[in-house]
């Protein structure tokens, strides 16, 4: 079996031998290039996936003209967006207007750091990984607000205000569901959380309370990433395009890309916390089965779980109508938050008593 860890060690020792003191710098550059290329590939794949999922749900074929089976459709779209003129409204706050898409993008990029993509493939295994993700992801709301405010457009401003209220409130329930797993595994470090699921994923080991936490997590992150049915910030039929009404060309593409990267990250985190990250499906005392599962590469496990969750979120989007602003906040404060709090209590009880499998 090939292992990323071995490769990384080899490259590290090779660089250490050749370049000496500059090793860290060169490694940083390599990581940066890898992260950016991952971004580009993820954006293309996810947009295509969204369009294909939407098409098949809506009894259509989806893009099927550019490239084999429409695979290059998003490449063509990106090319089109690159060549498009990026307009800035005359009365817009130009500095903030230009800064906002990059801020949103940067936040998405920073969130990649603690994600474990496979066994040993992790940019930064910080010991407060989960806390880092919840903290940094809140910054993206500033980018959205900036975009909405600086556009000097009333639709954009309304969208940004909605987005602010939405992200701030839904972070609470997302945080509570994450806390459930932190309580069970006893660590904030991503690698520890994954290691704690070696004998089975938390979703299966933690009885019904973890299942509820998982459902709340999925709902909350759907809202946090501004996806339908919670896409009030860009509600098409109400606010035309919400906070990015005035954006065009590459600036719009950055918003668009950041949305999909954010989905990937929250789904990756969900997969890590509830479905064991890159950990294969293990069932206690079934050694033969466990051994068989270990044969599947860990990166395939991680990507499979993540894309399953992404599919789930896309499935939501193409099924449900949009909520209204006050209903959105009702759902959070009257249903998700109380249930989440009670749930956390139950999970803590289970963790203390050691009732989980």
């Amino acid at each position: 079996m090939f292992s990323f860890q071995q490769w990384a060690a080899q490259i590290h020792s090779f660089l250490l031998e050749k370049t000496g003191t500059y090793t860290l710098l060169i490694e940083c550059i390599i990581i940066g290039i890898l992260a950016i290329s991952l971004f580009a590939i993820l954006g293309l794949v996810l947009v295509l996936m969204e369009r294909k999922v939407a098409a098949h749900i809506q009894i259509r074929m989806g893009p099927n003209r550019v490239g084999p089976a429409g695979m290059l459709q998003t490449v063509a779209d990106t090319l089109k967006l690159l060549m498009k003129e990026g307009l800035v409204p005359r009365l817009a706050d130009k500095f903030l207007f230009n800064l906002a898409p990059f801020l949103v993008m940067m936040v998405a990029m920073m969130l990649l750091a603690p994600i474990a993509f496979a066994r040993g493939v992790q940019i930064w295994d910080i010991n407060i990984g989960v806390l880092y993700i919840t903290a940094v992801s809140s910054v993206s709301v500033i980018g959205v607000m900036m975009a909405g405010w600086s556009s000097n457009n009333k639709f954009a401003m309304l969208g940004a205000m909605r987005s602010g209220a939405q992200i701030v409130s839904y972070e609470l329930s997302a945080g509570f569901s994450i806390l459930c797993i932190v309580v069970l595994s006893g660590s904030l470090q991503i690698s520890d959380i994954i290691a704690s699921q070696e004998s089975g994923w938390w979703l299966f080991r933690g009885h019904i309370p973890v299942l509820i936490a998982f459902v709340i997590y999925i709902i909350a992150v759907t809202a946090e990433t501004n996806r339908a049915p919670f896409d009030l910030a860009e509600a098409e039929s109400e606010l035309t395009a919400g906070f990015h009404t005035e954006y065009s060309g590459m600036r719009f593409a950055l918003f668009f890309l950041a949305e999909y990267i954010n989905i990937f990250i929250v789904c990756a985190l969900g997969a890590t916390l509830f479905l064991g990250g890159w950990m294969p499906l293990h069932i206690a005392h079934w050694d033969g089965f466990n051994h068989l599962m270990d044969w599947i590469p860990s990166s395939v496990w991680f990507m499979g779980k993540t894309f399953f969750l992404i599919f789930l979120i896309m499935w939501f989007r193409w099924t449900f109508p949009r909520l209204r602003v006050d209903q959105l906040l009702n759902l959070e404060w009257k249903y998700l938050l109380p249930i989440g709090l009670l749930n956390l209590l139950l999970v803590t009880w289970i963790a203390i008593k050691g009732w989980h499998f």
Binding site: H56, W315, T319, F320
Partner: protein, 158 residues
């Protein structure tokens, strides 16, 4: 009681959402339900109904003869001024003068395919064709002359 209602509400809401997801999920996993046609690819098997109104055409037989007497009934019936008929005076073998069709001008760009001209035609000289790919790069190409060059009226059509 309050908590019971609360739980019932949550349960009903979630189950109604799951029902919808089941429906869309069914379509996702059954690609045979796809109904879209791949239009430019299926051009060969694309059959339009015989009554479909695509454009007005004038039928000519093998002898390059049509049935239009130039009576201008269609021109009068047309609500948009789509049809313009220019007549000429022909000499019959008996030496009499007779009105005949010179040019049948048809403005496809003005036509609304209302079928009133075909209804009005007493000799069934014009018909609706099933063509529908009318786009051209030059608007002038949409102004058509329906009678073919050197065509004449069929014997016996009055």
């Amino acid at each position: 009681m309050f908590i019971k209602e609360y739980i019932k509400e949550v349960y009903q809401g979630v189950s109604s959402l799951l029902k919808g997801m089941k429906k869309t999920g069914y379509y996702f996993f059954h690609p045979s339900e796809i109904i879209t046609q791949q239009y430019p690819d299926n051009r060969h098997e694309l059959k339009l109904p015989e009554r479909f109104r695509g454009e007005v055409v004038m039928a000519h037989d093998d002898n390059n003869e049509h049935a239009c007497t130039g009576c201008t009934a269609c021109e009068l019936a047309c609500p948009n001024g789509t049809i313009k008929i220019i007549t000429k005076m022909d000499l019959t073998p008996e030496g009499k003068k007779k009105k005949a069709l010179d040019t049948f001008i048809y403005h496809l760009e003005l036509c609304t395919m209302c079928n009133l001209c075909i209804e009005a035609c007493p000799t069934n000289a014009i018909q609706m064709a099933q063509t529908f790919e009318h786009s051209v790069y030059d608007r002038n190409k949409l102004t058509k002359k329906l009678n073919q060059p050197n065509s004449k009226i069929r014997e016996g059509v009055e």
